[in-house]
Protein backbone atom coordinates (compact mmCIF):
# COMPACT_ATOMS: atom_id res chain seq x y z
CA UNK A 1 0.00 0.00 0.00
CA UNK A 2 1.44 3.34 -0.97
CA UNK A 3 1.40 6.63 0.91
CA UNK A 4 -1.42 8.10 -1.22
CA UNK A 5 -3.67 5.16 -0.30
CA UNK A 6 -2.87 5.46 3.39
CA UNK A 7 -3.53 9.20 3.37
CA UNK A 8 -7.18 8.55 2.40
CA UNK A 9 -7.91 7.18 5.86
CA UNK A 10 -9.08 9.71 8.44
CA UNK A 11 -6.61 8.58 11.05
CA UNK A 12 -3.66 9.64 8.87
CA UNK A 13 -5.20 12.96 7.83
CA UNK A 14 -2.86 15.07 9.96
CA UNK A 15 0.35 13.39 8.85
CA UNK A 16 2.70 14.75 6.21
CA UNK A 17 3.85 12.21 3.58
CA UNK A 18 7.26 12.09 5.26
CA UNK A 19 5.59 11.26 8.58
CA UNK A 20 3.49 8.48 7.00
CA UNK A 21 6.67 7.10 5.51
CA UNK A 22 8.30 7.10 8.92
CA UNK A 23 5.23 5.50 10.52
CA UNK A 24 5.36 2.70 7.95
CA UNK A 25 8.91 1.92 9.01
CA UNK A 26 7.44 0.81 12.33
CA UNK A 27 4.05 -0.57 11.32
CA UNK A 28 2.96 -3.17 8.81
CA UNK A 29 -0.01 -3.00 6.46
CA UNK A 30 -1.61 -6.45 6.53
CA UNK A 31 -4.22 -8.01 4.31
CA UNK A 32 -6.44 -10.94 5.22
CA UNK A 33 -8.84 -13.02 3.19
CA UNK A 34 -12.46 -13.47 4.22
CA UNK A 35 -12.67 -15.89 7.21
CA UNK A 36 -8.91 -15.81 7.78
CA UNK A 37 -7.91 -15.95 11.45
CA UNK A 38 -6.01 -12.86 12.61
CA UNK A 39 -5.20 -14.12 16.09
CA UNK A 40 -6.56 -16.68 18.52
CA UNK A 41 -7.51 -16.54 22.17
CA UNK A 42 -4.41 -17.39 24.21
CA UNK A 43 -1.93 -16.12 21.61
CA UNK A 44 0.65 -13.62 22.93
CA UNK A 45 -0.75 -10.05 22.59
CA UNK A 46 1.74 -8.83 20.06
CA UNK A 47 0.45 -5.35 19.29
CA UNK A 48 -2.27 -3.00 18.11
CA UNK A 49 -4.38 -3.60 15.00
CA UNK A 50 -6.15 -0.72 13.31
CA UNK A 51 -8.79 -1.60 10.71
CA UNK A 52 -8.43 0.39 7.50
CA UNK A 53 -10.91 -1.53 5.37
CA UNK A 54 -13.26 -4.43 6.04
CA UNK A 55 -14.66 -5.96 9.21
CA UNK A 56 -13.38 -8.20 12.00
CA UNK A 57 -15.37 -10.59 14.15
CA UNK A 58 -14.25 -10.94 17.77
CA UNK A 59 -15.33 -14.17 19.40
CA UNK A 60 -14.63 -16.61 22.21
CA UNK A 61 -15.14 -20.38 22.33
CA UNK A 62 -15.83 -21.47 25.92
CA UNK A 63 -16.13 -25.27 26.00
CA UNK A 64 -16.13 -25.33 22.21
CA UNK A 65 -19.24 -23.14 21.88
CA UNK A 66 -18.54 -20.15 19.70
CA UNK A 67 -19.87 -16.82 21.02
CA UNK A 68 -19.56 -13.72 18.87
CA UNK A 69 -18.66 -10.68 20.99
CA UNK A 70 -18.43 -7.87 18.44
CA UNK A 71 -18.01 -6.91 14.82
CA UNK A 72 -15.35 -4.22 14.43
CA UNK A 73 -15.39 -1.89 11.43
CA UNK A 74 -13.17 0.58 9.61
CA UNK A 75 -11.47 2.98 12.03
CA UNK A 76 -11.86 0.62 14.99
CA UNK A 77 -8.94 -1.08 16.68
CA UNK A 78 -8.07 -4.02 18.87
CA UNK A 79 -5.18 -5.13 21.03
CA UNK A 80 -4.52 -1.76 22.65
CA UNK A 81 -3.92 -3.37 26.05
CA UNK A 82 -0.86 -5.13 24.67
CA UNK A 83 0.83 -1.73 24.42
CA UNK A 84 1.04 -1.54 28.20
CA UNK A 85 2.93 -3.52 30.75
CA UNK A 86 5.59 -6.08 30.09
CA UNK A 87 4.13 -7.26 26.80
CA UNK A 88 3.30 -10.69 28.28
CA UNK A 89 -0.47 -10.36 28.01
CA UNK A 90 -2.27 -12.99 26.00
CA UNK A 91 -5.26 -12.44 23.71
CA UNK A 92 -8.52 -12.76 25.61
CA UNK A 93 -10.57 -13.44 22.46
CA UNK A 94 -10.04 -14.56 18.87
CA UNK A 95 -10.30 -12.35 15.80
CA UNK A 96 -11.38 -13.38 12.33
CA UNK A 97 -11.60 -11.38 9.08
CA UNK A 98 -15.34 -11.00 8.52
CA UNK A 99 -14.73 -9.93 4.94
CA UNK A 100 -11.53 -9.11 3.01
CA UNK A 101 -9.59 -6.96 5.42
CA UNK A 102 -6.81 -4.37 5.33
CA UNK A 103 -5.31 -3.44 8.70
CA UNK A 104 -2.28 -1.71 10.09
CA UNK A 105 -0.45 -3.61 12.79
CA UNK A 106 2.12 -2.09 15.09
CA UNK A 107 3.90 -4.38 17.53
CA UNK A 108 4.39 -3.44 21.18
CA UNK A 109 8.11 -3.07 20.60
CA UNK A 110 7.73 -0.90 17.51
CA UNK A 111 5.08 1.20 19.24
CA UNK A 112 7.64 1.99 21.95
CA UNK A 113 10.28 2.72 19.33
CA UNK A 114 7.93 5.10 17.54
CA UNK A 115 7.07 6.74 20.86
CA UNK A 116 10.76 7.50 21.27
CA UNK A 117 11.77 8.41 17.75
CA UNK A 118 8.52 9.82 16.33
CA UNK A 119 6.36 10.91 19.26
CA UNK A 120 4.77 13.76 17.34
CA UNK A 121 3.58 11.34 14.65
CA UNK A 122 2.17 9.11 17.34
CA UNK A 123 0.40 11.96 19.14
CA UNK A 124 -1.30 13.00 15.87
CA UNK A 125 -2.50 9.44 15.24
CA UNK A 126 -3.68 8.94 18.80
CA UNK A 127 -5.67 12.17 18.78
CA UNK A 128 -7.49 10.99 15.62
CA UNK A 129 -8.18 7.68 17.34
CA UNK A 130 -9.59 9.51 20.36
CA UNK A 131 -11.81 11.57 18.07
CA UNK A 132 -13.11 8.57 16.15
CA UNK A 133 -13.80 6.65 19.31
CA UNK A 134 -15.54 9.64 20.95
CA UNK A 135 -17.84 10.03 17.93
CA UNK A 136 -18.74 6.35 17.98
CA UNK A 137 -19.26 6.37 21.74
CA UNK A 138 -21.61 9.37 21.59
CA UNK A 139 -23.59 7.69 18.82
CA UNK A 140 -23.85 4.51 20.88
CA UNK A 141 -24.96 6.49 23.95
CA UNK A 142 -27.73 8.16 21.92
CA UNK A 143 -28.89 4.79 20.58
CA UNK A 144 -28.82 3.36 24.10
CA UNK A 145 -30.87 6.27 25.52
CA UNK A 146 -33.44 5.84 22.73
CA UNK A 147 -33.87 2.13 23.49
CA UNK A 148 -34.18 2.84 27.24
CA UNK A 149 -36.89 5.44 26.49
CA UNK A 150 -38.69 2.90 24.27
CA UNK A 151 -38.58 0.31 27.07
CA UNK A 152 -40.09 2.80 29.54
CA UNK A 153 -42.80 3.68 27.02
CA UNK A 154 -43.56 0.02 26.35
CA UNK A 155 -43.83 -0.71 30.08
CA UNK A 156 -46.20 2.25 30.61
CA UNK A 157 -48.39 1.07 27.74
CA UNK A 158 -48.56 -2.44 29.27
CA UNK A 159 -49.59 -1.08 32.66
CA UNK A 160 -52.25 1.13 31.06
Amino acid sequence: MIIDDIKKFDIFKDLEPIEIKKFLQFAQVKQYKNKEIIFQQGDPGSGLFLILKGKVEIYIEPGGNRISLAILKEGEFMGEMSLFGDGNQTRTASALAYEPLTAVMISTLDFRRLQTSGPKILSKLLLRLVMGLAVRYNKLKNEYNKVVAQIEEAKKTRVA
Binding site: F77, L83, F84, S123, L126, V130, Y137, L140, V147, A154
Partner: protein, 160 residues
Protein backbone atom coordinates in the same frame (compact mmCIF):
# COMPACT_ATOMS: atom_id res chain seq x y z
CA UNK B 1 -1.92 21.82 41.23
CA UNK B 2 1.25 19.97 42.07
CA UNK B 3 3.01 17.12 40.36
CA UNK B 4 2.14 14.85 43.31
CA UNK B 5 -1.57 15.60 42.85
CA UNK B 6 -1.47 14.84 39.12
CA UNK B 7 0.18 11.52 39.73
CA UNK B 8 -2.93 10.27 41.55
CA UNK B 9 -4.91 10.21 38.32
CA UNK B 10 -4.74 7.27 35.89
CA UNK B 11 -4.31 9.63 32.97
CA UNK B 12 -0.83 10.66 34.09
CA UNK B 13 0.36 7.30 35.33
CA UNK B 14 2.97 6.85 32.60
CA UNK B 15 4.66 10.23 33.07
CA UNK B 16 7.71 10.94 35.18
CA UNK B 17 8.16 14.16 37.20
CA UNK B 18 9.73 16.02 34.27
CA UNK B 19 6.84 15.04 32.01
CA UNK B 20 4.25 16.03 34.58
CA UNK B 21 5.89 19.43 35.06
CA UNK B 22 5.90 19.94 31.32
CA UNK B 23 2.17 19.20 31.12
CA UNK B 24 1.47 21.69 33.86
CA UNK B 25 3.22 24.38 31.82
CA UNK B 26 0.65 24.03 29.07
CA UNK B 27 -2.52 22.74 30.64
CA UNK B 28 -4.55 24.11 33.49
CA UNK B 29 -6.18 22.40 36.36
CA UNK B 30 -9.59 23.89 37.13
CA UNK B 31 -12.05 23.35 39.92
CA UNK B 32 -15.80 24.02 39.66
CA UNK B 33 -18.15 24.09 42.63
CA UNK B 34 -21.43 22.20 42.40
CA UNK B 35 -24.00 24.14 40.35
CA UNK B 36 -21.42 26.25 38.46
CA UNK B 37 -21.88 26.64 34.71
CA UNK B 38 -18.76 25.44 32.88
CA UNK B 39 -19.83 26.18 29.30
CA UNK B 40 -23.00 27.84 28.03
CA UNK B 41 -25.01 26.51 25.09
CA UNK B 42 -24.13 28.62 22.03
CA UNK B 43 -20.60 29.44 23.25
CA UNK B 44 -17.53 28.13 21.45
CA UNK B 45 -15.40 25.26 22.71
CA UNK B 46 -11.88 26.55 23.12
CA UNK B 47 -9.97 23.43 23.96
CA UNK B 48 -10.17 20.01 25.46
CA UNK B 49 -11.25 19.41 29.01
CA UNK B 50 -10.90 16.09 30.73
CA UNK B 51 -12.79 15.30 33.94
CA UNK B 52 -10.42 14.17 36.67
CA UNK B 53 -13.14 13.70 39.27
CA UNK B 54 -16.72 14.73 39.98
CA UNK B 55 -19.80 14.78 37.74
CA UNK B 56 -20.92 17.22 35.07
CA UNK B 57 -24.46 17.61 33.76
CA UNK B 58 -24.97 18.12 30.03
CA UNK B 59 -28.03 20.33 29.48
CA UNK B 60 -29.96 21.23 26.35
CA UNK B 61 -32.57 23.93 25.94
CA UNK B 62 -35.98 22.55 24.99
CA UNK B 63 -38.79 24.28 23.13
CA UNK B 64 -40.07 26.91 25.51
CA UNK B 65 -36.59 27.57 26.88
CA UNK B 66 -36.47 25.11 29.79
CA UNK B 67 -33.23 23.16 30.13
CA UNK B 68 -33.18 19.37 30.32
CA UNK B 69 -30.34 17.17 31.53
CA UNK B 70 -29.48 14.95 28.56
CA UNK B 71 -26.35 13.29 29.92
CA UNK B 72 -24.03 13.14 32.91
CA UNK B 73 -20.26 13.07 32.39
CA UNK B 74 -17.99 11.41 34.91
CA UNK B 75 -14.28 11.02 35.64
CA UNK B 76 -12.50 9.96 32.46
CA UNK B 77 -15.03 11.65 30.16
CA UNK B 78 -13.96 14.63 28.09
CA UNK B 79 -15.38 17.31 25.86
CA UNK B 80 -14.25 19.82 23.24
CA UNK B 81 -11.83 17.53 21.40
CA UNK B 82 -13.02 18.79 17.98
CA UNK B 83 -11.65 22.23 18.78
CA UNK B 84 -8.12 20.77 18.81
CA UNK B 85 -8.43 20.36 15.05
CA UNK B 86 -9.63 23.93 14.62
CA UNK B 87 -13.26 22.81 14.18
CA UNK B 88 -14.75 25.49 16.37
CA UNK B 89 -18.52 25.40 16.35
CA UNK B 90 -21.17 26.75 18.66
CA UNK B 91 -21.93 24.37 21.48
CA UNK B 92 -25.28 22.57 21.21
CA UNK B 93 -25.35 21.88 24.94
CA UNK B 94 -24.27 23.59 28.13
CA UNK B 95 -22.27 21.97 30.93
CA UNK B 96 -22.86 22.42 34.64
CA UNK B 97 -20.98 20.95 37.59
CA UNK B 98 -23.26 18.46 39.37
CA UNK B 99 -20.77 17.96 42.20
CA UNK B 100 -17.40 19.51 42.96
CA UNK B 101 -15.56 18.89 39.69
CA UNK B 102 -11.87 18.95 38.88
CA UNK B 103 -10.84 19.10 35.25
CA UNK B 104 -7.65 19.15 33.26
CA UNK B 105 -8.08 21.75 30.57
CA UNK B 106 -5.88 22.64 27.59
CA UNK B 107 -6.71 25.20 24.92
CA UNK B 108 -6.04 24.68 21.22
CA UNK B 109 -2.94 26.87 21.10
CA UNK B 110 -1.33 25.31 24.17
CA UNK B 111 -2.19 21.85 22.85
CA UNK B 112 -0.21 22.58 19.68
CA UNK B 113 2.67 23.90 21.78
CA UNK B 114 2.65 20.74 23.88
CA UNK B 115 2.53 18.64 20.70
CA UNK B 116 5.74 20.36 19.58
CA UNK B 117 7.66 20.49 22.81
CA UNK B 118 6.32 17.42 24.65
CA UNK B 119 4.98 14.99 22.06
CA UNK B 120 6.08 11.95 23.99
CA UNK B 121 4.23 13.06 27.12
CA UNK B 122 1.20 13.85 24.98
CA UNK B 123 1.23 10.45 23.30
CA UNK B 124 1.36 8.75 26.71
CA UNK B 125 -1.62 10.76 27.94
CA UNK B 126 -3.60 10.13 24.75
CA UNK B 127 -2.98 6.42 24.96
CA UNK B 128 -4.45 6.42 28.49
CA UNK B 129 -7.46 8.38 27.19
CA UNK B 130 -7.95 5.76 24.47
CA UNK B 131 -7.73 2.84 26.87
CA UNK B 132 -10.27 4.46 29.21
CA UNK B 133 -12.62 5.34 26.38
CA UNK B 134 -12.30 1.92 24.74
CA UNK B 135 -13.23 0.26 28.05
CA UNK B 136 -16.21 2.59 28.54
CA UNK B 137 -17.27 2.00 24.93
CA UNK B 138 -17.14 -1.79 25.30
CA UNK B 139 -19.03 -1.63 28.59
CA UNK B 140 -21.75 0.49 27.00
CA UNK B 141 -21.86 -1.84 24.02
CA UNK B 142 -22.60 -4.73 26.39
CA UNK B 143 -25.35 -2.71 28.14
CA UNK B 144 -26.79 -1.77 24.74
CA UNK B 145 -27.04 -5.45 23.79
CA UNK B 146 -28.93 -6.14 27.03
CA UNK B 147 -31.46 -3.30 26.68
CA UNK B 148 -32.04 -4.18 23.02
CA UNK B 149 -32.84 -7.74 24.07
CA UNK B 150 -35.17 -6.46 26.79
CA UNK B 151 -36.97 -4.28 24.25
CA UNK B 152 -37.30 -7.17 21.82
CA UNK B 153 -38.81 -9.30 24.55
CA UNK B 154 -41.32 -6.54 25.29
CA UNK B 155 -42.22 -5.73 21.69
CA UNK B 156 -41.06 -8.71 19.66
CA UNK B 157 -38.07 -8.52 17.22
CA UNK B 158 -37.83 -5.35 15.11
CA UNK B 159 -39.08 -5.75 11.54
CA UNK B 160 -36.38 -5.59 8.84
Amino acid sequence: MLVEDLRKFDLFQDLDDVGLKKCLQFAKHKKFQSGTEIFAQGSQSAGLFYILDGEVEVLQKQEGGAEKVVDVLKAGDFDGEESLFGDVEERETSLRAKTLVRVFWINTLEYRRLQNSGPMELSKILLRVIIGLANTFRGKNGEFGKVKKELEELLGPAEE
